[in-house]
Amino acid sequence: MGIIKKLPVYAEKVPGGGIVTTSLEMVLNQARARSLWYLLFGTACCAIELMCTGASRYDFDRLGMIFRATPRQSDVILTAGTITTKMAPRLRRLYDQMSEPRYVIAMGGCTINGGPFYYDSYSVEKGIDHIIPVDIHIPGCPPRPESLLEGCLHLQEKIKKEKLSDWQEK
């Protein structure tokens, strides 16, 4: 019952028995926020920072974030790098293959508005917002691992605030 002591706000122990009362919403949100498996989508130098974040110094695993190489097993797509017009339909397709509920983290300047390729570029998309809906934008060129971790924590906060009724509408 250690978990009950740590979560006095969310869960309540019925006196005299091994029963705990809580809300389904809270349990599901906690579980989902702490097991965000992300789809690797590293297309440029942001992916190097992503690898660094996944390695032992910053250790993505402690947030429950483990990389997946297939959209079928992913909860969040982490677009790290430049998205070209040729890549855009592929990105959309991978996003469509993910199962609901799904989230998008746009990492780096290129995915926000084209970044350094905003001017004089015939091939780079000016942000991925018009391809897939983005939940978290992380600015930087590329962002440091601390920024990426903070972005993921913001996504966790967002997930924890979701309502059961919202899921049904989706």
Binding site: T84, T85, K86, Y118, Y119, D120, S121, Y122, S123, K126
Partner: protein, 156 residues
Amino acid sequence: MTKEQLQTAITEKLGDKMTLLDTGRHDLMYEVKRENLLEVCKTLKDDESLAFDYYLNSHGVDTKEKFEVVYNLASIIHKTRIDFKVILPYDSAEIESVQTIWPGANWFEREMWELYGINVLNHDNLTRFLLADDWDKGFPMRKDWDAPGFIRMPEL
């Protein structure tokens, strides 16, 4: 082989077809007329005193008045390098393919055709491979190219 020896050898073998433009800091730069291109390339590769057997690179240049196609070659035997360019007028941008001489030229010529619109004659596989599959906006590396959504860097 030093640069001077190479220059002498070129003058001896191809003096009438290659015009020296620049001795440069590293490589010699020559100009070749479009109609002499294949003949010059064959001699550069097959002649034993030149033996340019390695096709390093080739690229298109748009100078707003004319196109240039620049070839960079190297000789592994003699440890020399050479550059030469072919100047094409804007209204008839066509050049013979050199892939029968150096097969490595294949993709460079496709890229040139795709991005500059320089038509490569007698190329065996002139298909798109860099731009998006449904690209219909012309040749983006040309200086006068423009398209919706293309934002030019403002003058500072």
